[in-house]
Symmetry: C2
Subunit: 417 residues, 2 copies
């Protein structure tokens, strides 16, 4: 049994994490939020109080923290007696935060793969570049580290595990499909940190095909799907974290990730990329100033959190899994539908932040009650999926399955309660 | 009679100016080139020697100069005994360079209106904001200051004066049409300083309609023309320097400027502008760095000078002038055709730099021989157009007129020689 949660980061996802922790603070204990900019933590706490989100009386506190400073993070974990750290800060801080967890024995949860600021799209599998190198270190320290426990990666990994346990004897192909059919009303905006968003698409697109890493360029392979609720949607083969674990842990020959993009996104992305404005390498202006173009692009774009109040429409994210069951070909699509406006009403965030922020809290609760407190480093598909999906349904994300013409809710709010 | 020329600036246009001064150094005397980066001046001088451009033995020297430093510029003018200054540096240095000319009595020539870095598209007429405020000062000092003596503004102003003197008793409308039908082979590039290029189009589009300033937005009003040599071309109503003098000096009710744009330019411009990346106002990155987005865009785009070797195709720039002659409606299009590859062979620059760089040298030669040495501040249309157009034909830019179906060369190389 572990308790007291330190949330690192204060962006749109952290806002959802804080609200969900507050709604479940009977299980999770004290809540601490730390970020470079303490005012952002304080704003989140104000919003938690405004919504009356604290289930029981308890602690929720803001802290200023440079999370690249391992000693400072270690000290904060110790001082706050936090036994669970939910890292939803920038993807550049995963390794130092993990170090602080190993130093203190606190459980570690993140939602995206570690990145170094000056490198884009490293050799697959990406987890092998940083995270998995520390498996032994975690095991030795008995530290539970759950990697990629957002929606995708995260819930979609659990969907893959569920497909294996429940729907198929043999899996031939997993296609993860992520479509945001919502509208934010701006000329252009990314739904999470623009820097991380663009970095996903500027390098090679790695997918796992016939048991091998295959490289494409962005927007090279497109595919239209007819999806539940959101209907016909155009997507493109995209590099994404979960391919880099599912391909290694599941013994499946084909894993691909398909993300929905509108024409506007493609136009803006194409212009910025071709001009060199998405580069993470510094350029020098005529005046002699060294600047990373991508950071300037981030600075001019809307703050993703600012989109929430006017966001409408729904997201559909899921796994299309194909293979064989009892000697018969079988195909299931396991998915979630989230609504932007519903998310905003509940926690003051848009749907993308909501789907990313609820799962790490479920993971924290499963560590708190021991179910997932495995004392080593794991990806989500290596953990039992049913308690996770059941708990997710209770705290805001239901799971459906489409097979043939039929859509069925398999983890609903009441079913799991 | 004035001699010895100081060229301020070392970009693509300065390269053409240096070559043309060298080709006419029997008239112009010593040539000095000054810029912040002295290496760029030295590269230009090397290119002048490589082409054997010096007509007679003489001086051509490079100097490091911060042209915003009036005292330094004054000292350089005095030390080099320059009686004519051709300012083809950034549009931000016009006023300080003019101050140095007034201090020394040197004649001043520029090719674009003065701008302040932090302001875009000020109140019309633009010349009224900086240049014309100093008319009295120039008159008192007896300083010849020829404003906007490039191609447009510059030659097109002389075309307007010629139309008034030769073709029409009454002018109702002047449409200046600027089409670059050339191709540089890059995804995207501007033909001159991207910062100045984009600044032309980010503010309001001012035109002079029915004797009044009229404001449109960029790409709001399009028009296709069937032009000599380059054929059918799509253009858009654009704000441009010469509208701001012709409207005030010519007593003409309508002056508009139409610039040709391809689809690629419009797409890139629209994306950059809508995202805020063309802003001249600093933004702050997440890391706390203050950056002017437009300067970063400039830093990632190709150096316009680098386009020259592979540039093919032609430009067509001219004045469509409508009015009445001897009681009859009359319409003439006075124009020039320039060829990118020809320009590169002759002076190592592309056609846009060539058409902008030859005219200020013609102006300098007319000041040197006294024809244009008027001892006060003038715009080009206030000076006799014939000697200018005749000299331009001799040194590389011929003038044609289209009337009805007929195209006629009115200032050709031999005609004016």
């Amino acid at each position: 049994m572990k308790k007291n949660v330190l949330i690192v980061g204060a962006g749109g996802v952290a806002q959802v994490v804080a609200h969900k922790c507050a709604q479940n603070n009977d299980v999770l204990g004290d809540i601490h939020i730390a970020s470079r900019t303490v005012e952002k933590c304080e704003a989140i706490i104000r919003s938690v109080h405004e919504k009356g989100a604290m289930k029981v009386d308890g602690v929720i506190e803001a802290h200023a923290l440079d999370a690249t400073d391992v000693a400072a993070t270690t000290a904060l974990i110790e001082r706050t007696k936090s036994q669970i750290v939910i890292n939803v800060g920038s993807a550049f801080i995963n390794m130092p935060v993990m170090s602080a967890c190993i130093a203190t024995g606190a459980a570690y949860i993140d939602t995206a793969i570690h990145e170094e600021p000056d490198k884009v799209c490293e050799t697959p599998p990406w987890y092998g570049n940083y995270e998995w190198k520390r498996r032994e270190e975690c095991e030795k320290a008995g530290v539970t580290a759950v990697l990629g426990a957002g929606f995708d990666p995260g819930v979609v990994n659990a969907y893959a595990a569920l497909a294996r346990e429940e729907y198929l004897d043999r899996i031939d192909e997993i296609d993860i499909i992520d479509v945001n059919a919502g509208s934010h009303g701006c000329y252009f905006a990314t739904n999470f940190d623009p820097e991380i968003n663009f970095r996903e698409f500027t390098g090679q697109v790695w997918s796992w095909q016939n048991g091998e890493w295959t490289s494409n360029t962005m927007f090279e392979r497109g595919k239209e799907w007819d999806l539940p609720v959101v209907g016909r949607q155009q997507t493109y083969l995209t590099g994404h974290d979960e391919i880099h674990s599912l391909s290694q842990t599941m013994n499946v020959p084909n894993v691909g990730f398909w993300m929905g993009f509108g024409e506007r996104y493609i136009t803006v992305f194409t212009v910025l990329k071709n001009l060199g404005l998405l580069s993470e390498k510094p350029v020098t202006t005529a005046e002699g100033q060294e600047v990373v173009p991508l950071k300037v692009v981030k600075a001019v774009l809307p703050d993703p959190a600012s989109l929430a109040p006017d966001y409408t429409g729904k997201t559909c994210i899921g796994d299309l899994v194909k293979g064989e069951k009892d000697g018969q070909a079988r195909e299931v699509f396991i998915y979630n539908i989230a609504d932007h406006a519903d998310a905003y009403r509940e926690v003051g965030s848009q749907g993308i932040s909501y789907t990313a922020g609820v799962p790490p809290v479920a993971a924290a609760m499963l560590i708190a009650n021991g179910t997932w407190d495995v004392g080593r480093m794991v990806n989500v598909e290596e953990l039992p999926p049913r308690p996770f999906l059941s708990l997710l349904a209770d705290i805001g994300l239901t799971t459906w399955v489409r097979e043939g013409e039929e859509d069925r809710e398999i983890y609903g709010r009441t079913a799991g309660a």
